[in-house]
Symmetry: C2
Subunit: 348 residues, 2 copies
DNA sequence: GGTTACCTTTGGATCGTTCCAATTACCCAG
DNA sequence: CTGGGTAATTGGAACGATCCAAAGGTAACC
């Protein structure tokens, strides 16, 4: 149990300065690669830094400089691989820019989101990337983060409207167009009775995706039965359980446009238990194109969103905002692309 | 590698103190709920805190108190839902304990792991939870994190041995027993020619799982052909591509024990492309029991590891270590449980 | 020699908090 | 009126870095 340095005692600039007979300020200049310091001094200091195993205390530096080197990433469902990929993309880009990611997972709970945000804000992140929990309100988020910290909203809008809210940047998916494409595709496959499955209408993304579906149905002059709209929490498990509801009305649909891939995969399983098979006697489409969509059986027709790329993009938006805090707020709608696979069979 | 972001004018203790005619020290006492302050003063200060919208600067407090309120979580593959769940569990528990999670994703790259670790360490986390990248070495990790920051190793061992390395706590899965159970199950289903599929042998978890498989095969007196060991990066995609290799030797296996669920799901897809179907003419088992295992078609026989619970457990181990830095290092082997589903059909 | 210029180094104040010893105010016993 | 105890408050010095104005040393120039 021999540790070189007593536990807790950390090496500071003063130790290095004393160790090689220069001042604290000079060591600081060396650390930041200033051209002011003499070559010889620099190498002497660098040697000493190595020798004592110095590690930079970024918190102290940030305090003095009134800067931040972290970004908070708050997600509504980290267990969904869509957000796993997204987070990986965010972390990758932030890392390249010298920032560190503060993680918070809300599990779709507004209360937890509030707690997580106010805890994270105390650590002084330079900005926040937020994919809001279902049904959360702009007012609550603003109360937790204050109006000084820049926010990039991803994936969903917040409920309510506030003047400050308008200053936040947004990165959204082209939800309406996506489900519209999917619905048109199902219609082209011969389907007429098409359901919209999963999600809750208090999330903006759900409303938009539902609207895209309605738009395509209307454009094709197709009627929509009320019981073809099945709501569920957007997880695989909840979707599987909700599947039977599709077949309870009198006119049973032959296809379903799903809120996202997790829901679609859950529905496919639920269909199995109802004695039907997706891709043969029932057509299904998803949204997100998570890795498993191409790997499921049947493989899933879905809308590609490139979650990792979206992560990188969200991070870039925030970095741009930090560079220019006064630039007008931007809204980016990321395009989605229909990927046709086996699950969207034609009407038999 | 430097990043600076100016941060808007923030309200400090001094502002509050000035705002209600007490000293900075008193406000600090109020914030920390000290019983020393007078009831009346307290409520006056609390009112002022609300009025000015004060947010606590934890970094400054940590600097003064020489404490930390963050934990670094470094994962080898966040896009895998196993680690997504794990991260959610870690974050949940750390949050309850008043800590914040610093995220780092290495994508199985040793170089990235090193960069991520040394960047995170500069932010002074109280400890690190690390699921190492494949093939990473104890020496490298130690060089990046130093010996004063406590580490909890999850999921895999590091290569090489160092005295300090022995002081780290570990949370491992009962890998050998798990694959042994899975293999015994396949044998009981009538299989004799069983392959071991996926993973690379330079990861300790892979070696252990492979060993469990060998153990069961030997115990049953069954021979093992060399080409029944197919290595692959443990992702769905890589596994799907590697599937054909199973059928290249002269004695083709009728079942495969897979390194993990991602690999198993990939293999099932790959089999499909080889004209076979998992769960009917080829048996497959996985490892992890990620959410989709129960939802795939056929549903996947696998070893339940309860990743979210493991996340909570890893966090608890680290918190315990912080409470008692001198306690002897612990090694925890989390039990795994065989969950039999459709993919492990009997030999037809 | 004195002035100017440049290159390098430095002490002290500072960021927003906590700790500590000291101070104030007040009450009550002697 | 004094002394001592309790309760509440406070100024100033930290924590580990950066910033800034100023200083020391050399060299060149008139």
């Amino acid at each position: 149990m021999e540790s070189q340095t007593p536990v807790g005692r950390k090496i500071t600039l003063n130790d290095i300065a004393a160790g090689c007979g220069v001042s604290r300020a000079t060591v600081s200049l060396v650390l930041r690669g200033s051209p002011l310091v003499n070559k010889l001094t620099r190498s002497r200091v660098e040697e000493e830094l190595r020798r004592q195993g110095y590690v930079y205390n970024r918190a102290a530096a940030n305090l003095r400089r009134r800067t931040s080197s972290s970004i908070a990433l708050v997600l509504n469902e980290l267990a969904n691989p869509f957000f796993g990929e997204f987070a990986a993309g965010v972390d990758e880009t932030l890392g390249e820019a010298g920032f560190v990611t503060l993680l918070g997972n809300t599990s779709e709970s507004g209360a937890r989101q509030r707690a997580v945000l106010s805890s994270l804000v105390e650590h002084g992140p330079g900005g926040i990337i937020l994919s809001p929990a279902e049904g959360s309100e702009a007012r609550d988020v603003l109360a937790a983060v204050g109006s000084h910290t820049p926010v990039v909203l991803f994936n969903r809008e917040l409920g309510g409207t506030l003047p400050e809210y308008a200053h936040w940047d947004r990165l959204m998916l082209d939800n309406q167009r996506g489900t519209c494409l999917a619905t048109e595709h199902l219609i082209a496959q011969g389907h007429r009775k098409i359901a919209f499955f999963g999600g809750h209408d208090d999330a903006s993304s759900t409303r938009e995706r539902h609207a895209g579906y309605l738009q395509a149905m209307q454009a094709a002059g197709l009627a929509v039965a009320p019981h073809w709209r099945i709501q569920s929490t957007p997880t695989r498990m909840a979707a599987a359980r909700a599947a039977p509801a599709l077949f309870e009305g009198e006119t049973t649909p032959t296809a379903a446009v799903c809120y996202n891939d997790a829901v679609a995969l859950g529905l496919m399983l639920g269909l199995h238990h109802c004695g039907r098979q997706a891709g043969r006697d029932f057509a299904v489409t998803g949204f997100d194109d998570i890795a498993e969509a191409s790997m499921s059986m049947p493989s899933l027709t879905t809308l590609s969103t490139a979650p990792r790329l979206r992560g990188r993009q969200a991070a870039h938006l925030l970095l741009a905002r930090l560079r220019d805090p006064l630039a007008p707020a931007s809204t980016t709608i990321a395009p989605v692309e229909l990927v046709v696979r086996e699950s969207s069979c034609s009407l038999s």
